[in-house]
């Protein structure tokens, strides 16, 4: 009973964290702040995964997103200049029309999201590592290998793209 209340409170806090941080990423003027808020949104998303009972995915989220991708993005911020312009010109002149167009879509999506019926059946206890590993190395072994090839290709491509010509 009390755990249910705690769960709801945690969900509300994480929702505020995710939505607030994501809005900050879009609205903030300094891109360093955007990058750090993005890391915070990733961290709150890891909390969501924990709340859903997917501990392994939450650990991957912290390792890959909060660790690796944030550092990579911060390097990108470091190597590029900060700018003054915040928004594209398109949305500065047509705000009412944009709001008029987006509001019905948003309301429709919200209704659609809440229309999913909850099966109300919790999974059996225990971690999710064993079923995850069984799926990855069982049914999804070939896509897993293809993903490793993709990562290798991306790594080589990134090196080639930023390599200086030695001429």
């Amino acid at each position: 009973m009390s755990f249910d209340i705690l769960q709801s409170v945690l969900f509300a806090l994480l929702t505020v964290g995710i939505v607030g941080a994501a809005a900050g990423v879009v609205l903030m003027k300094r891109i360093t702040g955007s990058a750090l808020l993005m890391a915070f949104a990733f961290l709150c998303n890891a909390g969501m995964f924990l709340l859903l009972g997917a501990e392994t995915v939450a650990a991957f989220q912290v390792l890959i997103y909060v660790g690796a991708i944030t550092v990579l993005i911060l390097y990108g911020v470091m190597f590029t200049p900060q700018q003054d312009r915040r928004y594209g010109l398109f949305f500065q002149t047509q705000t009412p029309w944009a709001a008029l167009l987006v509001a019905p879509i948003g309301i429709f999506v919200a209704f659609f999201a809440f229309s999913f019926a909850d099966p109300g059946k919790a999974l059996p206890g225990g971690g999710d590592l064993v079923p995850l590993a069984t799926s990855v190395f069982g049914d999804f072994a070939f896509p897993f290998e293809v993903a490793s090839v993709l990562l290798l290709a991306a790594m080589i491509g990134a090196i080639v793209l930023v390599k200086r010509d030695e001429e």
Binding site: Q7, S8, F11, T15, I18, V19, A22, A23, V25, V26, I31, M38, A41, F42, N45, M48, F49, L51, L52, A54, T56, V57, F60, I64, A68, I69, L72, I73, G76, V77, F79, T80, Q83, R85, G88, L89, F90, V109, A110, A113, F114, S115, F116, D118, P119, A122, L123, P131, L132, T134, S135, P143, A147, L150, L151, A153, A154, A158, L161, V162
Partner: protein, 102 residues
């Protein structure tokens, strides 16, 4: 017990914020960040469906692992493109980059 729809609603809101950021911001690095936010929204929806839909195995989480892989590859190549672009002409404003526009 938090209903499934609540998680999907948070995921939808996060995705929409990401789309808005990609459309509104003109800094290429911030656009990459917003793409990452959208991928995170997808991950949240996948894990929520996987955990709440009564499946015994972890198919949804497996797809989340693949999304991680694709996100890492995307951000690496994207930042390499942004850096080589900045080396060739000193801007990261995507409105000023129109060399390939017809």
């Amino acid at each position: 017990m938090i209903p499934l729809g609540a998680f999907i609603a948070v995921s939808a809101v996060l995705f929409f914020i990401g789309v808005a950021g990609v459309l509104v911001r003109r800094n290429a690095v911030v656009i990459l960040m917003c793409v990452e936010l959208m991928l995170n929204a997808t991950n949240l929806a996948l894990v929520a469906f996987s955990r709440k839909a009564g499946m015994i195995d972890e198919r949804g989480s497996v797809f989340v692992v693949f999304v991680f892989v694709v996100a890492a590859a995307e951000v690496a190549v994207g930042l390499a493109i942004v850096l080589s672009l900045y080396r060739n002409r000193p801007t990261v404003d995507v409105d000023e980059v129109h060399a390939m526009k017809g």
